[in-house]
């Protein structure tokens, strides 16, 4: 396994600056997730590391070796794509063995068999090895696609939304599996997604990317609890963070605060009598394990969690109090961090 470093990397396609002065270091054996919406530059970043694109500026190094000008094949990287591209006429076994039979690898059949079987066991598809690719379910096909990256034992795994074409249940299952496999192998992984749940549950560190720039890099907890700006604050959390104009809150707010970010855990819902802030329940959404309470406070909509069995109903007045919310200035930058 190896470490990867991007230094001040930029890449432009015509008018579009896909990646801007991006620096990122991934430690050996680390699972880093780049999180951002479509068009943020996530995939371009992966392609720059893989050598499928060449940066306009900056450098890419693997284990301290500058590979900026090296072709993809010299970088010892495996790429897993969103759409699993398996050979339909081959069995799962043959699909897995294929990368090991590449010219120049010269592995013995016994060695190939051992590697394929080890990986199949890890991915829990040993019983499907004899099946043709077309006879596998979506989840099994994606496991084989991931397995094809694993058998090669590359220095680095790059994964581009590998779970997004799967249904919710399978995705949840494979999230945990992928994390387990990565930990078992001590693999270095850079994983790209727009799904905050994937980022939060799998990453050792998340890099939040926007308009080609890395906005914040940190552990899921750091990013969630201590976002550097309003954009990052809105990327993580379900229900989504509530954004209130500071003028609406009579309580003391730090100087320069223009908006207040209020997550569920920052908002206490109480009886209306004696409360400083009084809102009205508009709707209670029953999601089973939790209820989302939609509250209107001075024309602004707030969503928070409530105990599923606490009787709150539409039209009811409730008291609101803020507990250590996040403050942002007019440019969206976080302020008042030192005060925490």
């Amino acid at each position: 396994m190896a470490e990867v470093a991007l230094r001040q990397v930029s890449k432009r396609f015509g008018e579009i600056e896909a990646v801007r002065e991006l620096s990122l270091a991934i430690a050996s054996g680390e699972f880093v997730v780049l999180l951002g919406p479509t068009g943020a530059g996530k995939t371009t970043t992966l392609r720059l590391i893989a050598g499928l694109e060449r940066p306009d500026h900056g450098s890419v190094s693997i284990d301290g070796r500058d590979v900026t000008k090296e072709p993809p094949a010299a970088r010892d990287i495996a790429f897993v794509f969103q759409q699993y591209s398996l050979y339909p006429h081959l069995t799962a076994y043959e699909n897995l063995a294929f990368p090991l039979r590449a010219p120049g690898r010269r592995l013995s059949e016994a060695e190939i068999q051992k590697r394929v079987q080890d990986v199949a066991e890890l991915l829990r598809i040993s019983h499907k090895l004899g099946n043709r690719a077309t006879r596998l379910s979506g989840g099994e096909m994606q496991r084989v696609a991931i397995g094809r990256a694993l058998v090669r034992r590359p220095a680095i795994y790059l994964m581009d939304e590998p779970l997004s074409s799967l249904d919710a249940k399978l995705r949840a299952e494979l999230r945990l599996e992928l994390k387990r496999i990565q930990a078992n192998l001590g693999a270095t992984v850079l994983y790209v997604t727009h799904d905050q749940t994937e980022a939060m549950t799998m990453a050792a560190r998340i890099g939040v990317i926007r308009d080609g720039r890395l906005v914040q890099l940190g552990t899921p907890r750091e990013i969630y609890e201590s976002p550097c700006d309003l954009y990052v604050a809105t990327r993580l959390g379900s229900p989504r963070i509530n954004i209130l104009s500071a003028e609406l809150i009579p309580e003391a707010t730090p100087r320069g605060a223009a908006t207040i970010g209020v997550r569920t855990e920052h908002l206490k819902v109480t009886k209306p009598t004696g409360a400083d802030l009084v809102g009205r329940v508009r709707r209670v959404e029953h999601l089973g394990d939790q209820n989302h309470v939609h509250i209107e406070y001075r024309g602004q909509a707030l969503v928070t969690l409530a105990d599923p069995h606490r009787p709150l109903s539409a039209g009811e007045d409730v008291g609101l109090s803020l507990v250590n919310p996040l403050y942002f200035d007019s440019a969206g930058r976080r302020i008042g961090v030192a005060a925490e």
Binding site: A168, M200, T201, R221, H286
Partner: protein, 365 residues
């Protein structure tokens, strides 16, 4: 607006039975969701209600009127599809007004109706825009506008948010429910996404293999699933299942699993078999050092406010939803405590939930 009744509806495509003997009533003005995996018969049911498919048996009544053999156009229903088919060469106002124009409504009237639909959808500022430049969310709003403008008796929606990404889907869920609250039209909505169903529905019908397994309010379906299938399909992560062998008798207040007594809501029927399943929702599992059910932490998934901790026990894997402040390290041995009043027992073979004190005082049926 209308009440819709489906009576012993059945649909077979040669020897494949897509819908078996479905009966339910959708009250006037309610938001009704048909939820299930692909192939469960939900879309076929919707298409029969719309008049796009003829039932093999059974009847469909709209406001008491038997419409089973009426053509789609005679049913006064608007259908919203997953892929928003807009006319690319027309602007937003013309797209929304098109159904009225086809009905030869006077031009001034069309303009007023279009404006009203746009107001409801909060897209008045887009009326003169070209459709091809719109975002996914706005295109979907225009498609809805085209359904609203006709003032139909009911809206039928087939996975209208299926093509949108997670974030936009969340926004549209809010909007659709808000819109429903404003116009109060009877809505039947088909989806395989349990979050959409839980978020929007007044009542959910959970379907599997052409059969409606349960109909109820979202919280009821969640807390009192009628079958293993429903318990597994609704909830994310789904309900944990712990299989066990033994006898379950009327009046029992505990079951024995792996040599450990687990308190359960008082059982109100005789167990007919030997194999049972205990169901526990992830938020009703707690870590407790002294609890007799032991396991090893397999992994922890951080979600911000909460985390999902997966624990391997002798009977399988258990997921617990815990505050994210609670430490749980992979490999660690922990004890698991279940919130007894919430536990559900199922017969393993039939998958049917057994009646217990849990069902008392709650409209289960």
């Amino acid at each position: 607006m209308a009440q819709i009744r489906v009576d012993k509806l059945r649909k077979a495509f040669s020897d494949f039975v897509a819908v078996k003997d479905s009966s339910f009533t959708i009250e006037d003005g309610s938001f009704f969701v048909m939820l299930g995996p692909s192939g469960c018969g939900k879309t076929t049911t919707l298409r029969m209600i719309a008049g796009l498919e003829l039932p093999s048996e059974g009847r469909i009544l709209i406001d008491g009127d038997d419409v089973t053999l009426k053509r789609a156009a005679e049913r006064d229903i608007a259908f919203v599809f997953q892929l928003f088919a807009l006319y690319p060469h027309m602007n937003v106002a013309d797209n929304i007004g098109f159904p009225l124009k086809c009905q030869r409504v006077a031009r001034a009237e069309v303009r007023a109706q279009v404006r009203e639909a746009a107001r409801l959808l909060r897209i008045e500022h887009l009326l003169s825009s070209i459709v091809s430049g719109l975002s996914g969310g706005d295109r979907q709003r225009v498609a809805l506008g085209r359904a609203i403008v006709r003032r139909p008796k009911a809206f039928l929606m087939d996975e209208p948010l299926g093509a949108l990404d997670a974030e936009l889907r969340r926004v549209m869920i809010e909007e659709l429910r808000d819109l429903h609250d404003r116009i109060g039209a009877t809505t039947i909505y088909v989806t395989h996404d349990q979050i959409e169903a839980m978020s929007m529905a007044d009542r959910i019908a959970v379907m599997n293999h052409g059969v409606v397994e349960q109909i109820g309010a979202p919280q009821e379906v969640y807390d009192l699933p009628a079958s293993l299938f429903v318990a597994d399909f609704v909830g994310s992560p789904p309900m944990n299942f712990i299989p066990f062998e033994g006898a379950v008798r009327r009046g029992d207040k505990a079951v024995r699993i792996g040599g450990v007594n687990v308190d359960v809501p008082e059982v109100h029927e005789e167990g007919q078999a030997q194999s049972f399943v205990l169901g526990v929702r992830p938020e009703n599992v707690a870590l407790a050092d002294d609890a007799p059910i032991r396991g090893r932490v397999f992994g922890a998934e951080y979600l911000g406010t909460t985390q999902i901790v997966t624990v391997d026990i002798a009977q399988g894997q258990i997921k617990a939803r815990l505050p994210s402040t609670m430490p749980a390290r992979p490999g660690e041995t922990v004890g698991l405590a279940f919130k007894s009043p919430s536990l559900v027992l199922f017969e393993a073979a039939s998958g049917r939930a057994m009646r217990s004190a849990l069902h008392e005082g709650r409209g289960h049926g």
